[in-house]
Symmetry: C2
């Protein structure tokens, strides 16, 4: 097509795709450019605004590193990641059932436990639960030079009863990094960079669809305004306080808890693969 | 909003904007996320595809530099820049009316000329025309260590008759950089990275809206498939061949042309400012 205009650009773009383009690639690119052109036309995007958009990308590029994923953060605060569901950080060390993830860190002790089961209620023996959270300073290990690489990360394999259990410290709310271009966007929108506190779980078992989820305490002040849009009602749980003497046997910390602790029960249901 | 789902994410996003958010920012972000979420939902974007998108951004980031603008190129080949119009590269050295831009470079001599006028046909005295093109090797000065910084760039101020004129070599078709993530996209779509040959003009005058345009020769094989979607019918001109003895007086090369040369006439009309 010779004369490309605002009105035919999307059609012309599709005409440029070769006949043997992968059908899924064609579907994705077609929808992408339709929405991209639609956005620019709908708002009458100016050169100056386009330049600001390019400058945003280049600003993200300038700070992108192994420990700073500004493009992922941009996807998060724009709610794109939330459309897909949260994402996994891999590489946790093994944690036995009943193990302790808090190690030497202080803060309110939390005992989290539950059963990993199939949609029919049967416990799934051998399911794996990958657990991670921020340290009490609000930073993930990958963001914090003071922590070991996998601090507050654990990978647990459950037994025949499907039960997982571990101790940690109560997660804290934290701020996503806001000193980069994504932070500029948040400020321009009058938005804060805070997330409510949560535990991350990714649960897998052979023959079942993996589940990536988060568990939020019901007393967090940011539940209704998670800056990355991760909260669902069925992920908000009550953390009840129990006296030290109610701390159960069979845990790594059994006999070592001398203060009230928090308890949360959260069962995980996996759907069978198609 | 607590329970964010695929169905309410766009609405929740808008609810997070503060009341005093700049109205244009609100308009742009609202349209942007509507289309972003719409895209992801329409194609049912998977985690793996999202990761490929993030990897694309990070790949662009990895090669972005002062001389390699991969995000701009991405905007170009997706047709976004074309929705807005082409963009200017600033910093050209002065070129007198009738001057020569080809200097020591070989190749078919092209004499380009025309009148810069207002919509009522009056020549605009003192208008400026900023001219640039690739060298005969298909590279812009900014892409080519062999060229001076402003090789094949010139900034001309026209006299009372509004006439511009200069000699150069006939531009060649060229390829946009295709060794980066944008090149990967082109290949995945079965697209070539070629642009038809053209001269770039940006024309400005006090009291008139600036005009950024390109002039294409009508014999270029890539007119119907410009990989950055820049061609418009009214920018495609015939370059006619004239004998050496027809070369006019008053040009820097007058008396020095011993072979047939090409000639293109292209008047530029500027619209008054509002």
């Amino acid at each position: 097509m010779r004369s490309v205009t605002k009105d035919n650009i999307t059609e012309v773009f599709m005409g440029y795709l070769s006949d043997d383009t992968d059908p899924r690639m064609r579907e994705i690119m077609g929808s992408l450019v339709k929405h991209l052109h639609g956005f620019a036309k709908e708002v009458g995007l100016t050169h100056e605004e386009w330049r600001a958009g390019i400058a945003f990308m280049e600003g993200c590029a300038g700070i992108e590193s192994e420990d700073r994923h500004e493009f992922v953060l941009g996807s998060d605060v724009l709610g794109l990641s939330s459309v897909l569901g949260p994402f996994h950080v891999s590489g946790a060390p093994p944690l036995e059932v009943g193990g302790d993830m808090k190690r030497h860190y202080g803060g309110p002790i939390l005992l989290a436990e539950g059963v990993i089961k199939s949609t029919d209620g049967t416990p799934i023996a051998g399911a794996e639960i990958d657990i991670w959270q921020t340290a009490p300073n609000g930073l993930y290990a990958s963001q914090d030079e003071e922590q070991d690489t996998y601090s507050f990360h654990g990978l647990m394999t459950v037994g025949d009863d499907g039960r997982y259990a571990f101790t940690t410290v109560k997660p804290v709310e934290y701020t996503v990094p806001s000193d980069g271009p994504v932070g500029d966007i948040l400020r321009a929108c009058g938005r804060h960079p805070r997330r409510p506190s949560h535990l991350h779980y990714i649960v897998t078992a052979p023959g079942f669809k993996p589940l990536v989820t988060e568990v939020f305490p019901d007393d967090d002040p940011y539940l209704d305004q998670d800056t990355v849009f991760g909260v669902r009602n069925d992920l908000v749980m009550h953390y009840d306080e129990r006296p030290a003497e109610a701390f159960p046997e069979g845990m790594a910390l059994s006999g070592k808890v001398n203060e009230p602790f928090l308890h949360v029960a959260f069962d995980v249901t996996l759907a069978p693969e198609d």
